[in-house]
């Protein structure tokens, strides 16, 4: 039971309850604005009947040729509104937009330790495409967590009915290889 609407600049002052979640990163303003300006259609908020932000998704479309795809940058739902299918609704929305943009697939990165999220994405039809070594940087402080690997998960869209884009040449890559592609 939620209303989907575009993410707007004003939401930056109102998304605190969602961002209190320890696994949700708080970025600088320019990060959010980069998405709102370049890919506004990929930025959606789910709002409760009482007007609270239940969760949001930020994404983009990128790549060339058969690598043209939708990407989920951030997906988060407030703890109060979990287990209601909000994440699924938001993911469906992003996939719909990616379909409209004629993308081949949608991809996302997730911490290898985040089994809850990994299983959730599997339920949404995503599969592990490859593992990226030390993608998430740990902190430099004495007790901060170490670097962590990410799973690159993908779901093929209607433009790739054979699921060709789901087969990786290398199952494990370094972060540097990811950016050099």
């Amino acid at each position: 039971m939620c209303t989907l609407r575009p993410f707007t600049c004003k939401d930056l002052f109102r998304f605190n309850k969602v961002n209190f979640d320890p696994l949700t990163e708080n970025y600088g303003i320019s990060f959010y604005l980069q998405y709102l300006v370049n890919w506004p259609e990929y930025c959606t908020v789910a709002e409760s009947p009482s007007g609270q932000i239940m969760g949001y998704i930020l994404g983009k479309s990128e790549g060339q040729g058969e690598d043209w795809h939708g990407h989920v940058t951030t997906l988060t739902v407030s703890s109060q509104f979990r287990r209601l299918g909000i994440a699924h609704t938001l993911m469906n929305e992003l996939e719909k937009i990616s379909e409209n943009q004629k993308c081949y697939f949608v991809d996302l990165f997730v911490r290898v330790s985040n089994s809850v999220a990994i299983n959730m994405y599997k339920n949404f039809g995503y599969s592990i495409y490859r593992q990226i070594l030390e993608y998430y940087a740990g902190g430099s402080a004495p007790h901060s967590p170490p670097d962590e690997d990410a799973f690159d998960m993908r779901k093929a869209l209607s433009r790739d009915p054979q699921g060709k884009t789901l087969v990786a040449k290398k199952k494990v890559i370094k972060t540097t290889e990811l950016f050099s592609n």
């Binding site: 039971m1 600049c9 930056l12 209190f20 708080n26 303003i29 370049n38 509104f81 937009i97």
Partner: protein
Amino acid sequence: MANKRDPQIERKLRPLYDALDNLNNKQAIQRADKLLKKEKDFHCARVLKALAMVRLMKCEEALAILEHVKTHFPLDESTLQAMSLCYKELLLPENIPELYETALKYSENSEDFLTQLFMGYVRIKEYKKQQQIATKLHKLTSITAYSYWNAVSLVFMGRDNPELGKVMCFPLALKIIEKSKEKSSETAEEVFRLYLEVLELMGQHERALEELDNPKNIVIDDRERLRFRLHFHKILGNVEQTNILYKQAIEAEADCYEFYRGYFDTSFSLLTDTENLHDPDFQVDLNKADTSVHEMTGLLLKVSEDSGGNLRGPELAKTELVIRLKERQIELCSFASPTLLVLEYVRKYGHKACCYDDLKLIVDRMSDSEKSELIGIVEEYRGTVKESNGTKAMQRLATLHLLLHHLGKYSDLEADALTYVLEEIKNFHQITLEVDLDCSYVETFALLYSWITCDSLKDKAVDAIKLLFSKLESFPEGAACRIIAIRLFIYLGAIVPADEVYNGLDIKSIQNDSLAHIYYPNLIPLGGFSLADRLSRQMESFYRTNEREVLECVVKSYLCGKFHKVSELFELHESLVYSISKAVFLLDKLWLSFLLSSAPDWNQIEVLLTTVREEMCAVRTDNLVDNRDYQVNDVCDSRHTEMAALQKSCSYLHDTMYVKLRHFMINSLLVLQDTVSTKSLDTMDEVVASFIRDVVDRAAELPNTEDYPIYLVMSQSMTAWTPFFDLLITIAQESRNYVLHSVHGVAVEFNLQRITDKIAELQEKVKGDLLANETLSSRHIPYLSCLMQTVGFGVLCVMCGAATPQRKKRALAESTLSTLRETVRSLRDLCEECSLTATGHRLANLNINKDDSIDSRIAFSIKWSIDEIAAVVSRILTLISSLNCRSKPKS
């Protein structure tokens, strides 16, 4: 940084760019100097040196360099871009257009320069000029994008001047868009949005609807299309059409509650022609009502059935429909009573954490008798749930307790019954801590306990903190628990543990603007000067960087063709520039720079005054914007909903007054220092008059928060300042008169003794309040902080007005110094006395248990606050001593 540039120059500049990119600004300056030594007219190197200076906060010197380079009319792209960057970082975007206007005189048709000039005007909202440049660009290149820049500029021009918009801007923009649309086979989404916007501005709503129905314009998704249709039909007052659209929307998306609300609103509006339900003569046409109710219930039953009863939307909508019908005294509905429907809803969805949030708006619409009935039903049901085990049962219990608290059940209980309820909640909290790892309802029980305690048993605040901490130990991520713990610590006057808990929230970036209100305003009143200083400095840099970034995003919106984001981004920019939190941070930073100067002596204060004078120009004190997020303060008891709604406006008033108070204090110092002529001192009258108008006269408007529950109480800083208003005015006026008399020889009466007498009088009063019955009331520490700041203000005023060493006449008399010294010493004695009292743990309203860590932390914090205040008092004494040395005649 560099592109399309002379490779030879680029090679020379590379080390300089590298130093800047690596944030090594000092090295950048050295490298620039090296290049300039070889080639003194190397403008780009000079400008990059200025950029490094800007980043080292040497703004004046950087501006001088830029002015110098400007006189040479630079034309190369590297220099112009570097200069633009300097002006952006200096937050002087208004200086950029001039660069390109000059460059265009030499290269009239340069597309690059014209584009840069267009963006230069965009940053400063020069709509007319940007429109002219866009026209020129389009004529020159025939690129369609430029014609859209032209249309958007016209839209902004028209919005700025609606008359001109109506007759010229909007029709012209429409013509441009239509012409461009005709040329291309497919309309881009952004262009279509712009087209709709212009049609709306021209009042052509029917045409906008036609365009939305036109299959050629399938460029926006169905949801957006529906939103636009509803919007235009609402403007046109097409209730029937809107009703049909909502109905279709429900059929297509049965779980979107927004559609049900719209559907009910329009259905009832159609039923009564005019929705005037408070009219005593209001009569419902029963036949019409019957059909309408039949239709509404039919739809709800259908969508409910289609979804297999699994969607919350239609189920909740049934309750809302019944309540709305009851409000209108229409008894035609076949559904059960609202209370039974709510119970049914809880039975079905009570195990979901969102259930309470769903229901709270609905139950607020119930009549008092229905609410009483609901309390009975819910309590009965709770009895059966209590017998069950497992996660779902615990969440359901949490929902039921939330609902009962919302309905006011726990507000009317006798002490014994309330203690029983609290024990029960505490017990559930303990069970959930032990048996399950899902934190959401563990948090709910901890919050419930705290809310009820905060509301009814304020003396049990420490107990609530202990419970919250037991939750935080197992689940440190509980932000709601952290926020309420901060509130409770602040209520008890304990800023040190409040600071620790606040840090655990890991608040970053823009969150500091919207969330610092839960903690920051209490720092200075509770002696957290260095904490306030650190945060306010961080935030100064945050605003500086982000105001610039947002403007650059406006530019990007034009470049990406995302025109509908332009207004939104400008609004965000204004929200940052005029942020009330920003004003508080900046003024506190300036004020604290006087109180916390590393080596307090007159020379340093004089240097500070110069910096502060420059920085005050950037501080906005009027038309402030409130970006603060109050939704983080969960309110459960419906009796407090109104208070919570008032909290935002009251807090805005409070902080506006606080901003004016700080502005008055700093401005007074600046006026007193600037005593070149008697005329400059006349300004003091205006400064005092605006303080009286904006603060003193409005003090009565501040809400009495005594009845507020602790979790809604905002900063008390203005309440603590109120007794000092007269003294602040006296200090400013007497200091002004003293300067008039001693420096300018004007025959005015002055009496500095009046200041010290008044300080002594207030000190006695504060002493009485603080140390009544040899106990220390933790809530009175803000008065001690205000007293210290007032004394500090007094000393600084006297010094600013009289102590410029170059003017012998202005040297302070030894008798004045000695009186000031005595006053400050006696304040130091008072602090010492308070500190001793705090050390002895004789804290009023607190049952201190030395063995308990929470109690000890509170006691430690209160002593810490007093010691911090005492430390600043000592600095003030050192400052007076430095003046003493200066006023001694030179041998």
